[in-house]
């Protein structure tokens, strides 16, 4: 089913039930679990299915289904690119796969360390796939996995967060790897520190579509957790990569590369330049956090929740550049 149609349907259903969509985000957890529904997918290109994440932070009502998830179906096998933000999220992605194909799920790619992208991995354990990640990901998961899990369990409940799964197939920065789904090759690239230090992207050779993970945020304020200058470099590389269409980590299921890259380059350039100027002027960090990059505010959802933190992150790094 077409994604937009499905969304319209659920909206109408909700309205018919006398409920306003904007105020019913919290479903009773037990009921939702027992009725795990296949995730709403959109087929952005033959065999490439994407579930658009919500523009929200994790809540008990949304099962941390806030990141874009996807899978690619080849002749012999399926690859998952980001299994989801919770067990529930992963299960519903798995149901969506099984509604379309019975081929084995051979690979589960983890695009980076963040919880909204990795905690659905446990839902795929029974499929015995190869879990794939950036060469830095195992260390990052060791350092942060338990911390993220504790935090997410406080929101979703103890049984809802999947265990931390460490990838066994690792991709080194200087050595792209290739996966074969049977006549369909995927190229994995491990990036330099940018959004995080563990960013991995996936290029489907057949369609030329790139799963960029959180290297690309479209519409939602990006969160800086790696290296501001490094991220700008990676954005320039993506801009010049020749890739025309991409699945961002957050935002619409498929966007032209230029449309995704340009706003991010603009935002991070403003953030970098204004932060450098503030440091040079001696503007205190607490003042910088509430006054910098505000020209970007109209362009991004959830700006007030993330921009100040990005300023602090940029400030404390650029102080030592």
């Amino acid at each position: 089913m077409n994604f937009a149609a499905e969304k319209k349907l659920s909206r109408r259903t909700a309205l018919l039930g006398g409920l306003c969509l904007c105020c019913v985000p919290t479903r009773p957890r037990a009921e939702a679990l027992s009725s795990s529904q296949p995730a709403a997918m959109v087929e952005v290109s033959p065999g490439i299915h994407v579930r658009q994440g919500l523009t929200e932070d994790a809540t008990a009502g949304n099962f941390d289904a806030i990141a874009n998830l996807g899978f690619i179906i080849g002749r012999d096998a399926v690859a998952v690119i980001d299994p989801g933000g919770s067990l529930h999220d992963g299960r519903s992605l798995r149901l969506a796969i099984r509604a379309r194909t019975q081929l084995p799920i051979r690979y589960v790619v983890l695009s980076h360390v963040h919880p909204d992208h990795v905690f659905g991995a446990a839902a795929f354990k029974d499929d015995a796939p190869i879990f794939v990640g950036h060469a830095e990901l195992p260390q990052q998961l060791a350092a942060r996995g338990a911390f993220y899990r504790d935090g997410l369990e406080k929101i979703l409940g103890a049984g809802e967060v999947g265990e931390v799964i460490t990838p066994t197939m690792l991709v080194a920065r200087d050595k792209p790897a290739e996966l074969d789904l049977g006549g369909r090759g995927l190229v994995l690239t491990a990036h330099q520190p940018a959004h995080t230090v563990s960013d991995l992207s996936v290029l489907d050779k057949q369609s030329g579509i790139l799963f960029a993970g959180d290297l690309l945020f479209v519409g939602r304020t990006p969160s800086l957790d790696g290296d501001l200058k490094g991220w700008l470099k990676e954005l320039a590389a993506l801009r010049d990569s020749g890739v025309r269409q991409t699945v961002p980590g957050h935002g619409p299921p498929l966007v032209p590369m230029q449309d995704a890259v340009a706003p991010l380059e603009r935002y991070f350039t403003v953030l970098r330049d204004e932060t450098r100027a503030a440091i040079a002027k001696g503007t205190p960090i607490e003042e910088a956090a509430t006054t910098l990059a505000l020209s970007e505010r109209p362009h991004w959802a959830m700006f007030d929740a993330y921009n100040g933190r990005n300023v602090i992150e940029a400030y404390r790094r650029l102080e030592w550049e």
Binding site: D57, A58, H114
Partner: protein, 260 residues
């Protein structure tokens, strides 16, 4: 009554969880016990005529919370302490003030591990203690792992910067001291999943032309790459000397020319 409040834990990851707000009685009991540990049985009076404590209501990053203590009025103050009651090591910094210290703001960046009262405590020259406090909603600041493998922080450990403002009359110099140091809390997991042992700034001494600005006793509650802002009285051509010792007995010494 307990209320649920949202706290920005790790905004990078879409995780904001609700923590139970503790009760007034609990906060007071905690402060009494922490204060006894640090100051013994000495009486502590209201300090609102001596100190003003500025703390954000809600932290954007619990591992880097900028706070400031303003010294007001004119009663001679010998020591200023910053205490984060609910942190595993509550004393964040104790400043013994010297003759070259200008009675103005002290600013620092701290970690906040759970919702807590933060106290600023002044000791006056007659040996009396005065405190003010502020509540803050932040959590996870001591256990939050560093984004980078800390390799770059370790590589520049001990490097310092002195960022100084040129005030119009040069009778006092607003200054920010930056010390590169991971200031490991002992609660951060590392790349092998183990806890990195605590390693923090124990002592920071600043003097100018031989006159003391302050001696600070630190702790794990200081943020990574600690930052301390203060103002000093310049002593002619006398250079600024900063001496740092961490809990692994590493010493760092740096001199900065007088501001011309």
């Amino acid at each position: 009554m307990k209320r649920l409040l949202m706290v920005a834990l790790l905004m990078v990851s879409g995780i904001n969880y609700a923590v139970a707000d503790d009760e007034m009685a609990e906060r007071e009991a905690r402060w009494r016990s922490v204060a006894t540990d640090i100051f013994g049985e000495r009486a502590i009076e209201d300090g609102s005529t001596l100190l003003k404590l500025k703390v954000p209501e809600q932290a954007m990053n619990a591992a880097l919370v900028p706070i400031s203590v303003e010294l007001i009025g004119d009663r001679p103050i010998t020591t200023v302490s910053v205490v984060i009651d609910n942190n595993p090591m509550p004393l964040a910094g104790r400043f013994k003030l010297g003759p070259a210290f200008v009675r103005d703001d002290i600013k620092m960046r701290v970690r906040v591990n759970e919702y807590t009262l933060i106290h600023a405590v002044a000791e006056t020259d007659d040996g009396k203690l005065y405190a003010v406090s502020h509540y803050i909603k932040a959590a996870g600041g001591c256990s939050a792992p560093d984004a980078r493998a800390s390799a770059d922080v370790l590589a520049r450990m001990g490097k310092m910067q002195l960022r100084r403002e040129r005030s119009s009359d040069l009778t006092q110099v607003p200054t920010r001291l930056l010390i590169s140091h991971p200031n490991y809390s002992g609660m951060q997991q590392n790349a092998s999943g183990d806890y990195t042992p605590a390693r923090y700034l124990e002592r920071v001494s600043v003097s100018v032309g031989g006159a003391k600005v302050f001696d600070m006793e630190g702790g794990i509650s200081l943020s990574e790459d600690p930052s301390i802002a203060f103002s000093y009285v310049p002593k002619g051509d006398g250079e600024v000397e900063v001496k740092v010792q961490d809990s692994s007995a590493a010493q760092f010494l740096q001199h900065f020319d007088a501001l011309k």
